[in-house]
Symmetry: C2
Subunit: 269 residues, 2 copies
Amino acid sequence: MLVNGKQGNLISIRDRGLLYGDGVFRTFLATNGKVRHWPLHYQKLQRDCVAMGISCPDVAFLSAQLNDLLMQHTDGVVKLIVTRGEGTRGYTPPIRAESTIIWDILPLPDYPADWATQGIVAGLCQFRLSHQPRLAGVKHLNRLENVLAAAECKDSEVAEGLLLDASNNVIEGTRSNLFLVSQGKLVTPNLSRCGVAGVQRERVMIWATRHNMPLQVRDFGIDEMMKADEIFVVNSVIGLWPVRKLEQRLWINFPFAMKIFEFLKGEDA
Amino acid sequence: MLVNGKQGNLISIRDRGLLYGDGVFRTFLATNGKVRHWPLHYQKLQRDCVAMGISCPDVAFLSAQLNDLLMQHTDGVVKLIVTRGEGTRGYTPPIRAESTIIWDILPLPDYPADWATQGIVAGLCQFRLSHQPRLAGVKHLNRLENVLAAAECKDSEVAEGLLLDASNNVIEGTRSNLFLVSQGKLVTPNLSRCGVAGVQRERVMIWATRHNMPLQVRDFGIDEMMKADEIFVVNSVIGLWPVRKLEQRLWINFPFAMKIFEFLKGEDA
């Protein structure tokens, strides 16, 4: 664990990351001392910092810290948090704030291997995401909506809960982005009002472009999702999980999801 | 500063308060080694913990810690944070989490004294609050909306920014609750979809009840606010500030606000 370049696992109680959730973060896998798609993760971190007006550390600086971390811990889930830093009292962001940079590494999760190949059971959360266009897409530290949604999925059979917004559009999983395959095209939710636009979502979109697969980013509801030929969720830790069961609907084959699964496993951006 | 009963100003980078904003907080004044309305603050903390499913520390336990703090620091702004504590990786709240209890005390703010008697210049924020009924009213640690709104009020003349929701209802100040006086009645926004229901708001409502002043908690927009006979904002640090200027509108006398100002200054619950 590194906090502002020093070994340690503590931060100040006056850090705005704690006080207001005033920061952004990234989560990704390290295996054999390497992480994949670091440039994409850095770009996303940078875009999120810009969206929040947080000073983003230089890529060379962060890359060096990441290398140090990977020398000590070769395998695990890497978490990188950048907060606006400490500030004077009150919500107003300080004019000159020095970002706090936090690195942590956690044990690899032990998800059943067949979730990636045979598919998962997904659930529908009752909780509804709110519309906040100023924060939509950004992976910031205000994650209470995800906490409340995840708290619903206590049924251990359900591997991921799917989230709708207040207008009943399907948006994402509690910790993943979602895609439908319908009549040979990919459809993924419009995240301009809520949701987090993750790096693996971007990579699926890159795959679609390279393979000339029609892609639509737009609103859709439960009915359309239930009629899809395939559904899958992605994130940088799980990779890709097809959905084999959602409510009463079952899916058996996931030909497109399996192709994309192989692409996401690879090194290509 | 106290963290989990020990002197210190550091918390773990794995605390869910930092990771997800998974916690609640209180802010109030200490003067001459005393705080006012501690029972009301504790009750609010307890209600907010219940709303979030966070284990709330016992009142006797917290009161003893507060007394220790006030022995060392007699005057300042006290901040009490209760987070869900550390947890396993992921959004799902741990079944047995041990809350983290954080006390901090900050210097008294130096607001111009005439803001309380002559009124403030208020501004209208462009930023709009989102609707999230599951979190509305609760003073939790997901405060990015307040940060974004406060960032707009860089004009030093503006003492407080007023916030509307996505439906253009007036909701609150960036760090205060808001009341109108109109034709002898008090009107304050409905906070069932967004906003924080603060302790001083509750005390104003108690005052209205005791003085048989009609009180309405309901939606209203800018037009109605501009036609009000008086506008004032309250919180536990500032007490009460009447608004003397908002956009092109000026107010000179605040007879009701001044009565309530005196009540809020007092010891009465």
